[in-house]
Structures are given as C-alpha cells and as structure tokens.
C-alpha cells in the first residue's frame, strides 16, 4: 500500500476514534447551554445559562455534590487502611491460601453488580445499615478492593528485596524500612490505585441508590432523578459537573498512569 494512503487511513481512524470519544461530550456541552434543541435542527435555536442557574440554585443538587465529595475521599482512606496491608502481605509473604485470596479479591467484581447489591441489601436490613453513611461506605469500599489490593501488591512486589535489606543493614528497623524505602518506592502504584478508587467511589450509583436513597443522594444517584424530573439540559449540566473531578484527577496523575503501573497490577503471581 502506498505510504500516503496508509497514512491517510491512520489519520481517518484516529479522527473517527476522536469523534467517538469527543462527539458525545461536545453534544453534551452544547446541550448544557441550549435553550431548546429539537430534531431536525442541527444547532440549538438559542443559547442560555438558565440550566446552570437551575442546578446551582437547587439545594438537593448542592447536597449531592457535598455527599460525593465526602464519600469519595473517605472511601479511598478506608480502602487504603484495609487493603494496603493486605497488598503488602500478598507481595511479601507466602501464606497458605495466598493464591485463593488473591483471586478471591476479584469475586466482588465477577458477579452482576445488581445481584450483589440485592443480597447485600438483605444483609444490611438485618444489620441496620440501610440508609446509613456506614452502609454506603461499605458499598463504596467493596468496589475499590480490587484496585487497592492488586495494583499496590504489584508495586510492593516490584521493590527489590535487596533495597530493603540494605536499609536493615544500615540500621533501620522493619517499620522504618517500610516507611523509608518500600512505601516511597511503591508510591506511584499506590497513587494510581487511590485515583482509581476515588473515581470508582465518585461514579458508584447503583449500590448507593439502593442503600442510601432517598436520605443520602450522591451526584450519580441524583443524576437518575434529574433525568426523570428536569429537562435534559439540566442533566447535561450536571454530568459536566460530575466529569470535572475525574478529568482533573486524571490530568494531575497522567504522568503516573501512563507508566506501566496499571499493567503491572495484573502481573502479580
């Protein structure tokens, strides 16, 4: 195939891919400022900020934003406290059932979510966790276990033992060695895991709706009622707001994410 033609095909495919990704976002952005936009018009008939003021003046929406910004960081924190020690153990110790538990961490992600949440709800009723902050946290943390275990486990495993031994030899206790050598070296991997967990918590809708609604609405669960109760423009505004933290986080961390840390997470044996 001539060079120019093959180049043309590549450019075309790239453009198609870009359109596939950016197209809906563009449509969404336009819709958020559209007074009304109906078929078969190619462009909205007028532009307006009205929908933005609707969103910002709605108290329920403000609360949802607050709730989301409350649950996501706490989820990351709780998940880190629970999962990082497990990740370290998976990476550094041989114990009976290690493989079983490592694979078992995937279990929460290997069933249809809704089925899992329905049985979880039955359990939560028994434990009085329905409509509680704790209940929602449990749901969110469950969704992050895979990221917070597998990726950091690989990051810990990638730290050469001789570097830890050198620290011990230099006079560091086991704890000091962990905090001065192992943890800093595994940090990029842990950061990736934390971002993935943050986003997973931020986007969690089904379980939160089932356990928290109507007392605790987060941004994604609020989306459901928005889509039902308001013109589509309001939903467009809200989804743009919902995307801001994800985009900001990914931009801030893209340097670490392009590295092999994600791939690394699935190479642990």
């Amino acid at each position: 195939m001539p060079r120019a033609l093959s180049r043309g095909v590549v450019v075309l495919l790239a453009a198609l891919l870009a359109l596939f990704i950016i197209g809906p976002l563009l449509w969404l952005a336009m819709r958020a400022f559209a007074a009304s936009w109906t078929y078969p018009d190619l462009l909205p008939d007028a532009w307006t900020f009205r929908w933005w003021s609707v969103v910002f003046s709605d108290r329920a929406l403000g609360v949802a934003v607050q709730n989301s910004l409350f649950f996501a960081p706490i989820t990351v924190l709780v998940s880190a406290v629970i999962c990082l020690p497990a990740a370290y153990a998976f990476a550094r110790f041989e114990f009976p059932g290690r493989r079983f538990f490592l694979i078992g961490v995937f279990a929460a992600n290997s069933f249809p979510k809704m089925g899992l949440f329905v049985s979880l709800a039955a359990l939560f009723y028994a434990l009085n966790l329905m409509n509680t902050i704790l209940g929602i946290l449990v749901v969110h943390v469950l969704g992050t276990v895979v990221f917070m275990t597998w990726i950091p486990a690989a990051a810990f495993a990638a730290v050469p033992r001789s570097l830890e031994e050198a620290a011990r030899d230099a006079g560091a206790s086991k704890l000091r060695t962990f905090f001065s050598v192992t943890l800093p070296m595994a940090l990029p991997g842990i950061l990736v895991a934390a971002i993935m967990s943050f986003l997973s918590s931020f986007d969690e809708a089904q379980g939160t709706y089932l356990v928290g609604a109507p007392d605790y609405m987060t941004m994604p669960t609020q989306m459901y009622s928005l889509v039902l109760n308001y013109p589509t423009q309001v939903a467009a505004v809200f989804s743009i707001l919902l995307a801001i933290p994800s985009v900001a986080l990914l931009l801030a961390a893209h340097k670490h994410i392009v590295g092999g840390h994600l791939a690394e997470g699935f190479q642990i044996k």
Partner: protein, 341 residues
C-alpha cells in the same frame, strides 16, 4: 574519615539447612582485626549464605558468630556492627547519592552538622563528591558501586562485608575498583570479608582466602600458600591452572598409580635440546595468551599444558619436555609434592 578500631570475626560451628538441604556444615573461621579475607568458591558452595548469616539476613541453625569478641548471632541486621555492600549495590533510587550515604547516620540520630561532614568525607574517600546530588540512576555502574561502598564505610563498621562487589562491572573497571577497595581497606584498617567466585580477584586483594566447596572450607590460607601448597585437589584445580593426570610420578615421568598427579603449566619446560629428565614431546596446539603462550605437548605418557614466554614453537615442532614441580593427591587430599633436583 577516621581509622576504625575494627574488631575481628570469629565463626564457630556454623550450620545452615535451607529447603531441607544442608548448605553449611560445621563451618569455623577466624578473621583477624584489619584483615581482608575472601570467601571463594563455585556458585552454590555456600559462600553467599555464609555472608548473609554474618550480616544477619539469615539465621544459622547452629553455631556462633562473634564480631569484635561480641556474640551477634541473635541480633537482627540493624543491630550488627557490620555493613554490607550488595552485589547489585542496592542504592535507594528515590534518594540522591548524598542522601543514600546519609541514611545510616540519620538512623543513628547523629547531629545534622556531623552527618554532613561525615557524608562529605565518605564521598571524598571514594572520589564521588561531585556526584553528591545525583540520583543513582544517573551515574555509572562503577560510581554506583563506590556510592554503595561509601554508604557502608560512613557507618564506620567493625566489619565490612562485600558480596561479589565487582561482578557487575566491566573487565577493565574491575581491576581498578578492586585496587581501590584494597587501598581504602588498608588505609582504614577495616576487617573485611569479600564473597567472590573469581579466583584472580580473590588472589589479588586478599590477605587470606577461604576456598569453599559444598558448604565446607577446603582450605583457609594466604594466596601464595593456596597456589603453592593446595590442601586438596579441588583447591589445586580451582585456583590457577593444573595438568591433572591419573597415576604417580617416577623419574620425571607419569606412571600408573592409585593417585592423581597435578602439575602447574609453568612447571612444564619445553626445549629443543634433549634433557636427562625430559621426554620427547610434540607441540599439538599453541594458544596465544598475550605475554605468554599455552602449549599442548604430547609425550608418550601424557598430554601436558605448558606456558612459554617469548616466541612460541610452531605446531608440530618436536623437542623435549620435562616436569620441574608436581603435586600428589590421593582421595582428593594432598599427600606429597616434589621438585626435580
């Protein structure tokens, strides 16, 4: 950097079983204060295991390890008065060269000014002051090696341990670094144990060498003694080159016998004139080795390798080859040695 009042090392009855296999059997060794000793042997002989037990990364199943007269066998690596240079250097990539060297002193909670001073002195000693603020990944292998050495020396340890310190360097650098290590070791008078599989490396830096095989020390002596009077056939073949012939030696020729005769190639002399103790020989092969050549000589009793300096004879040339010195082994042990009158 001050000269450390180094302690000696005493190892007694060391035993180690790993994975159901006995790695070290009843090992005894004494290193005198200020002495440099090499643990030399083929891979799997237990030399690294021994070093790791001295450093505290492995716990022996039995035996005692004393540094400067103090029992350390129950201590973790962080409490032992030894410092180790790792084979892959094990520098911390997230710290600069200076921070790597400063870390052991920070752990000892030394005052800031003292740390800065001692780090500079250690880096000066290994000639790396100009790379102080570089990350380990930005400097060469030889420089990383010297950083690791500085990190060990800054602790002013009673005992310096080096695990295959030169194996990751290229051949030319190896000679220079080993001379540097020896020079610094002598200047500081620090008791040092080096693990190596390279006999030339061990011979050139050590006061004494412990030749290990199958978890035992075959012989523990000076380089000259190991070469001239090897206690076992293993030591004789492992250190230097050896013509190994089954039989015994009688009137300058090899005759059938129960033992093994070992002759160093430099103790085989080849010439064109006949000699009363010599036998007719033909040159089968000539291997140039730089400032000397290795000849393969066929005599009626054996094929002998010989070293000659100057212009080597041509392949196929005939002459006379005689044996000047030999070693006699039975059941792997040295039972005699002789020199032609």
């Amino acid at each position: 950097m001050t000269t450390s009042d180094s302690g000696g090392l005493e190892i007694e009855g060391l035993h180690k079983v790993l994975g159901g296999r006995s790695i070290i059997h009843s090992l005894d060794m004494t290193v005198r204060p200020g002495e440099l000793v090499s643990l030399l042997g083929p891979s799997g002989c237990g030399k690294t295991t021994t070093l790791r037990m001295i450093a505290g990364f492995l716990t022996p199943d039995a035996g005692s390890i004393k540094v400067g007269g103090r029992e350390v066998v129950h201590l973790g690596p962080e409490h032992r008065p030894s410092a180790m240079v790792f084979q892959n250097y094990a520098l911390w990539p997230h710290m600069t060269v200076a921070k790597n060297v400063a870390f052991p002193l920070k752990l000892r909670k030394r005052p800031k000014a003292e740390i800065a001073e001692r780090v500079d002195a250690a880096l000066e000693l290994v000639n790396l002051l100009h790379h102080k603020d570089s990350r380990p990944a930005r400097i060469s292998g030889g420089e990383q090696q010297r950083t690791a050495l500085a990190r060990a020396l800054v602790q002013e340890p009673e005992l310096l341990l080096l695990d295959e310190p030169l194996s990751n360097l290229d051949a030319k650098l190896r000679v220079k670094v080993r001379e540097d290590i020896r020079e610094i070791q002598q200047r500081l008078g620090i008791t040092t144990v080096i693990v190596t599989h390279d006999q030339e490396e061990a011979m050139s830096v050590s006061d004494r060498i412990a030749v290990m095989n199958n978890g035992r020390i075959e012989q523990f002596s000076t380089p000259a003694d190991l070469y001239g009077t090897p206690a076992t056939e293993f030591v004789a073949t492992f250190i230097g080159s050896l013509n190994r012939l089954e039989g015994a030696i009688k009137d300058g020729r090899v005759v059938p016998g129960p033992g093994v005769v070992g002759i160093r190639p430099e103790d085989v002399v080849f010439g064109t004139e006949t000699h009363p103790r010599g036998l007719a020989a033909t040159v089968e092969r000539v291997v140039p080795r730089g400032h000397f050549a290795e000849l393969h000589l066929r005599r009626e009793d054996a094929v002998l390798r010989a070293y000659v300096t100057g212009v080597p004879p041509a392949v196929g040339a005939s002459g006379c080859a005689r044996i000047e010195k030999w070693l006699e082994f039975e059941d792997g042990q040295l039972v005699g040695q002789g020199t032609a009158e």
